[in-house]
Symmetry: C2
Amino acid sequence: MESSVQDNIRSQMRKGLVEYCILNMLARKESYVSEIIEELKDADMIVVEGTLYPLLIRAKNQGLLSYRWQESPQGPPRKYYFITEEGRKVLACMDGIWTGIINSVDKIRRGE
Amino acid sequence: MESSVQDNIRSQMRKGLVEYCILNMLARKESYVSEIIEELKDADMIVVEGTLYPLLIRAKNQGLLSYRWQESPQGPPRKYYFITEEGRKVLACMDGIWTGIINSVDKIRRGE
DNA sequence: ATAACTACCTTGTATTGCAAGATATTTATA
DNA sequence: TATAAATATCTTGCAATACAAGGTAGTTAT
């Protein structure tokens, strides 16, 4: 199935990071899957449904997110996810981790 | 076995990134496992043997790295890894991917 | 009725990081 | 000569995530 080293790296580098991005988005405003995917695409961060649904369920089970149903102007009802207080705490922690990772990579790239 | 959400996130965020860091280090000078681990630790990027050995073998099999044996002043001989021309090409590509990821996360954090 | 659209969700695979081991060489010491 | 310590190498099994490729169901227009 021909997958280049580069494609794989791109995928691997994003492990865990997608959750961080989604918590960030939902910390600003609640949203549902299709809309989340569109907004991530606008930021050049492609994510597909098969990634997003399990992620949202995991985050909900961990108490980081919650959701509510809402009628759609057209089509079936939408499941709007929003961040919880616990989610905001974890997000703040993730901010520190992300900053730390950027600093570490930078040190290594510059040769310490 | 008590593992916090934060510990997990830290681990996941680093998927793929460790390879990028090691290619960067080996692009500057050849090195062997214990030394690589020490230098990563100096940059606050903790990596253990069980992570590093499989990674180096994979990168060698992909043609990104090669190695040579060298006697040690004390103890068993060391396996010095160094980057190949192909490895440098992939590293250049990964630079772009990493920069792109930082930009994407930044956009999302700022609210697009 | 039926098709198109939108929304939901699941299953199986590939990949990686890590804990917890095992094995082998050299050197110092009892 | 044993034996312990230090320094290397490497493997196995598990947990976690991203993705491809599916499936189900409600709403609306033809």
